[in-house]
């Protein structure tokens, strides 16, 4: 008798739990607002390897990836020169001597210097310029009619910041 009472109680509890567990779940959808994430220059503390630097630079300028063979050869040539900046500048000047680069025309730069400067910072540094940086470049480009897109791109490409991430 005593055991039979316990069994009835247990069955009752299990039934109630089963009923409670079968409650239909609410259909909730979570969303994320679109947000473009840019880098912060103060957080760029890791230097790109030569291979990373060359492949990123090449892709940036040609909009196609560099071939492994070309990457290997370029990497070795850079390693063969003591001042890496000299090597990078020479590699870059070879790139600028080719016709397949994907860069804006000088007239496009001159048409909207502020937009060009902002695009440069985003393209090379993956961040927006500060007001000071923006002002410097706008003033410099506007007051120096001989400054070309090639010159600005060279300055960004061989800058210290472009070699870090």
């Amino acid at each position: 008798m005593h055991n039979s009472g316990k069994n009835i109680t247990a069955a009752f509890v299990m039934t109630m739990l089963l009923i409670a567990g079968c409650t239909k779940e609410k259909n909730v959808t979570f969303g994320v607002n679109d947000k473009v994430v840019y880098e912060d220059k103060s957080l760029k503390t890791k230097r790109k390897s030569d291979a990373e630097y060359i492949s990123i630079l090449y892709t940036n300028l040609y909009q196609v990836p560099i071939s492994p063979n070309q990457l290997y050869k370029t990497q070795n040539v850079i390693y063969s020169i003591g001042d890496r900046n000299v090597a990078n500048e020479m590699v870059l000047s070879n790139y600028f001597n080719t016709s397949t680069l994907k860069i804006p025309k000088d007239s496009e730069m001159r048409a909207d210097v502020a937009a060009f400067v902002e695009k440069c910072y985003k393209r090379f540094f993956l961040r927006y310029p500060s007001e000071g940086e923006k002002t410097f470049f706008i003033n410099y480009i506007n007051s120096n009619p001989n400054v070309s897109v090639e010159m600005v791109y060279t300055a960004f490409s061989v800058s210290d910041e472009y070699q870090y991430y």
Partner: protein
């Protein structure tokens, strides 16, 4: 004897720091040759040729006539050029370039101690003057290099100090600077791994560059310098040596000029230049001719073929002597600014074993590795301005060690005490001028 104790007048470094030279300079220029990649005493300074290596009795003699004084072997000549016509390969020795051997005009340290029987540590010893036997490959020297000492203490500009490496292997392109916190890359020397920079691949990657004018470059550097200031890299984050914008421009102009001179067939070459060392030496001569650097060191390595080819080793040794003799001659006759004002120092970074390994070559001669006590035996030759004619030490009487080379160079440039005060230098090292 020349000593290192004279106090000279103070002068002001380019940095603006007042600085008193610790001793009078002995010469205006130094060229150091890191000779060849593991050289046995027996076939070089001891002039025993096959007598001591392959048990060919009566085949002793000098196969390095530009460095050492002595009669050439008269048996089994294989180290020269090929006369053709069915004659024995290599049976025509290359004629001596110098009118007198360096031994006849300079100082020879006949028996010195190497610090290591390996290449990279040996090269580090020559270039740092330190006992860094724990030096690893693929890392920069643990201790300051001679480039850093000279740039920091003698006030040399980056273009005053050059290292011409023989290639990309064995981590040699890293020897132009340490990352030492007291010295480091801001004081590093310029460097070309010349056979690669100026070889086919270098030409493909660098040879089509735009020759920017000053008017092009000034805005580029102005904008770059603004960006760099904005980023604010710390000196300890430097990963490359530092040239000024003007120095960088000069280096780029030089690289372009070399490619043009290649096209015009104007690169000077030793008369026999059929191996990599001759190519390295050629570009060292180009750098000397163009920049007239106060200090240049170059690395050779062809004799390392001795691991598997003794005949090839003899040929490379003979050619290394030929190339170095040619370079010394080139400086005297083609670079008037350096002629009569230069000291050349030559030393292998390590020796080679007493006993051979089992590998036989085309002449059935055994090859040699470098790992035993015999590989710790080396020599050094010094020639040029203010170097007396003297022979120091002998077999069984070691005088000097490879860590002496750095203080010797410091002594030549008048910054001996400052460099000797470095805690990174082998404390027992000293100028070879003080060991004469």
């Amino acid at each position: 004897m020349v000593t290192a104790g004279t106090v000279a007048a103070p002068y002001i470094l380019p940095t603006g720091r007042m600085f008193a030279r610790t001793n009078a300079p002995k010469a205006e220029y130094v060229v150091m040759v890191m000779f060849a990649g593991g050289v046995r005493q027996q076939e070089s300074v001891l002039q025993r040729y096959l007598d001591d290596s392959q048990e060919v009795t009566g085949a002793a003699g000098n196969i390095m006539p530009n460095l050492f004084t002595g009669i050439a072997p008269d048996r089994k000549i294989v180290y020269g050029t090929d006369p053709g016509g069915g004659a024995t390969r290599g049976s025509e020795p290359i004629p001596r370039i110098l009118s007198q051997s360096m031994e006849d005009t300079g100082a020879v340290f006949k028996e010195m101690s190497a610090i290591s029987a390996g290449h990279y540590v040996g090269l580090n010893t020559l270039i740092t003057g330190s006992l860094g036997t724990a030096q690893g490959l693929k890392t920069r020297p643990k201790y300051p290099t001679i480039f850093e000492y000279l740039r920091k203490h003698a006030g040399f500009a980056a273009l005053d100090t050059w290292f011409i490496a023989n290639g990309l292997g064995n981590s040699t392109p890293l020897l132009n600077s340490s990352k030492n916190e007291d010295y480091g890359l801001q004081y590093g020397g310029n460097m070309f791994a010349a056979p690669y920079t100026f070889g086919g691949v270098g030409r493909e990657i660098l040879g089509n560059g735009k020759p920017y004018s000053r008017a092009d470059l000034d805005p580029m550097y102005f904008m770059k310098n603004f960006l760099d200031q904005s980023f604010g890299l710390n000196p300890n984050q430097l990963e490359t040596i530092k040239n000024t914008d003007e120095e960088k421009t000069k280096i780029k102009e030089f690289i372009r000029a070399v490619f043009q001179r290649q096209d015009q067939g104007l690169i000077p070459r030793p008369p026999v230049s059929d191996n990599g060392d001759a190519v390295t030496i050629s570009y060292a001569a180009e750098v000397l001719r163009h920049f007239k650097p106060k200090f240049l060191t170059l690395n050779m390595s062809a004799v390392d073929g001795c691991h598997s080819n003794f005949t090839g080793y003899l040929r490379s040794l003979h050619r290394a002597d030929h190339s170095v003799g040619w370079l010394w001659n080139y400086i005297q006759n083609n670079i008037p600014e350096m002629s009569g004002k230069t000291i050349m120092i030559i030393a292998p970074e390590c020796g080679r074993n007493l006993n051979p390994n089992p590998i036989l070559d085309e002449n059935d001669w055994y090859a040699y590795d470098h790992s035993d006590a015999n590989a710790m035996r080396v020599w050094s030759v010094m020639v040029g301005k203010n170097v007396p004619k003297i022979s120091v030490g002998s077999e069984g009487n070691k005088v000097g060690k490879l860590t002496d080379i750095v203080p010797t160079i410091a002594d030549i440039f008048g910054v001996y005490d400052e460099v000797k005060a470095s805690p990174y230098l082998d404390p027992q090292s000293k100028s070879l001028f003080l060991r004469m």
